[in-house]
Amino acid sequence: MIKLLTGNELLTGDVLWWTGAGWSLHLRDAVAVDDPALLARIVAEERVNDPTFIDAEPGNPPVPRTARERIRGVGPSVRPDLARI
C-alpha cells in the first residue's frame, strides 16, 4: 500500500493528484508520496482544497483503496462520457 496526495483545485473544483513536481488531473500521473511537510506547504498555499493523503495499491495507474477514491479518480461511474482518462 502506498500513499497518494490528492485535493480539489480551488478555481475549478477539479480533482488533483500530486505528480512529484506538481498537480495533474489524471490519476495515472499520481506518484507515491508521504511527506507531511509537503502537505503542510500545500495547505498553507490555500490553492488546493481539502488536500489529503489516501491509501492506494501501486500500479499504472495506482488503485485507490476505497471505492470513494476510485470514483474520484475517474469520474461518476454513471457518466462514462465524462470520465477522466
Partner: protein, 545 residues
C-alpha cells in the same frame, strides 16, 4: 406565479454582488478557505467529489418556462449540459467553476431565482404539493402561504444559525404528495367552519434518526400561522442541541421533551408573541394570493379523451391525474426513462419541456420530490399532442409510482458524504423491469428509494422498499428496508436483515417483488399493504431463506 417585487429583486441582486466580491477575495488570497467555505455554502455552493456543486432553490417546486430555459442555459454555459432535480424540489449542477459562479448567480437572479439558503443551518427551500393549485382534492392553493413562508424565512436574522438545517413542507390535501410528516414542520391547509387554517406537524424527518412528526395544532388560522411557525422556531432555536450534530434536529428536541411538553412550550411562546403583529398584513397576503390566481382556463375545453392509441392510454392511466377544472388534466413527465439517471435532465430536454409548458400549460411547471416534472394545467384535448412531443424526446415513460420510478440521491458518484453509489443500483433494479411494462403495471404502486448514506437524501426510510448504501471496509454495501411510506399513511421502513453487495441487492429486490406477487391478496393489494398485512417474514424467507 409569484413575481418578485422590488424588494425581492434587490435582495437577490445584492447577494450576487456580495458573493462576487467574496469570490474575488478568495481567489486573490485575501481570505482563507476556512473563512470562505461558510460564505459559499450560504449561497448553495458545495465542494463535492469531482467539482463544485450548486444547489438552486425552486420555491415550492414551481417554475416558469423562462426560468426552466435559464436553468437549461446554465447547464450549457456553466456545467456539462445537464442538471439533476432533487428530492427537495431543487436543482443541482455538478460541474461548476468557482470563478464562474457569480456570473451564474447573476443569470439566475435575472429570472428571479437564487441558491440562497440551500445549505447551512437555516430554513431551507419551502416544499409543497406538486399538484398545488390544480389538484381536484385540495381545499385551496397552498402556494400563497408557501410563498409567505419563503419571504418570512429568507434572511430571517433570528433563524440564520439554527442548531441544524430546517425543512418545511406545505400541502392542502388529505392525500400527501409532499411527505409533510417527514419534515421539521409539516403544514396541511384545511378548512374549519368556513375558515382556512393549518394543521401543524412538528418533528418529522429522515436522516440518521428517522421520525414521523407529531401533530401539535389541529387548527391555526392562516392569519396567525407565521407567528405560530416563529414560535416553533424560537423554542427550537433556544433549546435545540448545539453540542452534537447528530442530535441537533428539532425531531430530537421534540422526542426528548415529549410532544406534549414541546407543544406546551410552543403555545406559551405563541401566546407571548401573538400581539406582536408578526403575520403579514392582509393587503400583503392579498397581493401575493392574487399572483396565484387560476390561469384563464378554456371554459369550453372538452372533458373527453380519445384513448384509441393504446400507448397513449397507458401513459394517461399512469402519468395523468385529475384536475380541479373540467376539461383539464395534470400530466407528470417522468425523469426515469429506461437506462436513465433518476432526476437528470439534459439542457435540450429542459428547453423542450419549457416550450411544452408554454404551449400546453400556461408556461408553468412543477418539480416533484420524486424527481419528476409536472405540467399542471393541460387541456385534455391537448394531452395526445403533448404525449407525442414528449415521446420524441424520451420523456413519455409511463411509469409514475411504478417499480422503475425510483428515487435515488446522487450517491457516491457525486456526493462527498456518500458511502455507496445510489444511481447504478436504481438503474440495475429498473433494468430488471423496464422492458416489461405489463409486469410493472401488474406489480402496481411500488416506491423504491435509494440513499447513498445515512443522511437519507434518497428517502430510503420512506420507501416501500428502501435501500441504504453503507461502507464496509472501503467497499459499497447495501441494506434493505421494507414498509416505509412518505404519504398520508406515513411509516418508517424497517431493516430486513444483513446487507448485500450491489448485485446481491438487485437480486434481493426482485425476489421480494416476486414474493409479493405470490402472496398478495389480489392484484389490487399494493406491495405496502401486503407488507403491512403479513409483516416481513415472507420477504425474509424469500431473500435469506
Amino acid at each position: 406565479m409569484y413575481k418578485y417585487d422590488q424588494y425581492d429583486q434587490a435582495l437577490v441582486d445584492a447577494r450576487v454582488d456580495e458573493f462576487r466580491d467574496q469570490v474575488a477575495r478568495r481567489l486573490a488570497g485575501e481570505i482563507t478557505e476556512d473563512q470562505f467555505k461558510p460564505l459559499r455554502l450560504m449561497n448553495g455552493l458545495y465542494l463535492q467529489l469531482h467539482a463544485y456543486m450548486l444547489r438552486v432553490a425552486i420555491p415550492y417546486g414551481t417554475l416558469s418556462s423562462p426560468q426552466l430555459r435559464m436553468l437549461a442555459h446554465i447547464s450549457r454555459k456553466y456545467d456539462r449540459d445537464y442538471a439533476h432535480f432533487t428530492t427537495r424540489q431543487n436543482i443541482q449542477y455538478n460541474w461548476i467553476k468557482l470563478e464562474q459562479a457569480p456570473d451564474l448567480m447573476a443569470d439566475l437572479a435575472s429570472v428571479e431565482m437564487h441558491a440562497i439558503q440551500t445549505s447551512g443551518n437555516c430554513i431551507r427551500n419551502i416544499s409543497s404539493d406538486q399538484f398545488a393549485g390544480a389538484a381536484a382534492d385540495e381545499v385551496a392553493d397552498p402556494r400563497p402561504y408557501a410563498e409567505l413562508l419563503r419571504q418570512w424565512s429568507s434572511f430571517h436574522p433570528e433563524f440564520s444559525f439554527l442548531p441544524r438545517k430546517f425543512k418545511i413542507a406545505v400541502t392542502a390535501s388529505d392525500t400527501d404528495r409532499a411527505a409533510i410528516q417527514l419534515h421539521d414542520i409539516g403544514l396541511q391547509l384545511v378548512r374549519k367552519d368556513g375558515q382556512l387554517g393549518f394543521r401543524v406537524l412538528v418533528g418529522g424527518g429522515m436522516g440518521r434518526t428517522p421520525m414521523i412528526g407529531h401533530w401539535v395544532r389541529e387548527f391555526i388560522p392562516v392569519s396567525q400561522y407565521l407567528t405560530y411557525c416563529e414560535a416553533i422556531l424560537r423554542v427550537y432555536n433556544r433549546y435545540g442541541r448545539r453540542d452534537n450534530i447528530y442530535k441537533a434536529r428539532i425531531k430530537i428536541l421534540v422526542h426528548e421533551l415529549g410532544a406534549e411538553e414541546f407543544t406546551r412550550q410552543v403555545e406559551a411562546e405563541f401566546a407571548a408573541m401573538s400581539d406582536l403583529g408578526l403575520d403579514a398584513p392582509q393587503a400583503e397576503v392579498d397581493r401575493i394570493a392574487a399572483q396565484f390566481a387560476d390561469p384563464e382556463y378554456d371554459a369550453g375545453a372538452p372533458d373527453t379523451l380519445d384513448r384509441s392509441d393504446p400507448d397513449f392510454a397507458v401513459w394517461v392511466d399512469q402519468n395523468v391525474h385529475a384536475h380541479k377544472h373540467a376539461g383539464y388534466a395534470i400530466a407528470t413527465i417522468s425523469l426515469k426513462p429506461p437506462r436513465g439517471i433518476p432526476g437528470d435532465a439534459s439542457s435540450a430536454q429542459m428547453d423542450l419541456i419549457a416550450d411544452l409548458a408554454e404551449r400546453y400549460s400556461f408556461g408553468e411547471l412543477r418539480v416533484t420530490h420524486s424527481q419528476n416534472l409536472v405540467l399542471a394545467h393541460v387541456r385534455k384535448a391537448d394531452l395526445y399532442a403533448l404525449w407525442q412531443a414528449l415521446a420524441e424526446a424520451d420523456l413519455a415513460t409511463p411509469n409514475l409510482d411504478l417499480v422503475t420510478d425510483i428515487i435515488a440521491c446522487p450517491g457516491l458518484d457525486y456526493c462527498t458524504l456518500a458511502n455507496a453509489r445510489s444511481i447504478p443500483v436504481a438503474q440495475k433494479i429498473a433494468a430488471r423491469f423496464e422492458s416489461d411494462l405489463a409486469r410493472q403495471r401488474d406489480i402496481g404502486e411500488l416506491k423504491i428509494k435509494v440513499s447513498g448514506c445515512i443522511n437519507a437524501c434518497g428517502h430510503h426510510h420512506a420507501g416501500h422498499i428502501g435501500i441504504l448504501g453503507v461502507d464496509r471496509k472501503g467497499e459499497e454495501s447495501y441494506q434493505l428496508s421494507l414498509g416505509g411510506s412518505g404519504a398520508e399513511d406515513a411509516s418508517l421502513a424497517k431493516i430486513l436483515g444483513p446487507g448485500f453487495n450491489k448485485a446481491g441487492v438487485v437480486d434481493a429486490v426482485e425476489k421480494i417483488i416476486e414474493r409479493y406477487r405470490s402472496v398478495r391478496s389480489g392484484p389490487d393489494e399494493r406491495f405496502l399493504d401486503t407488507y403491512r398485512r403479513l409483516g416481513d417474514a415472507p420477504f425474509k424467507e424469500a431473500v435469506y431463506g
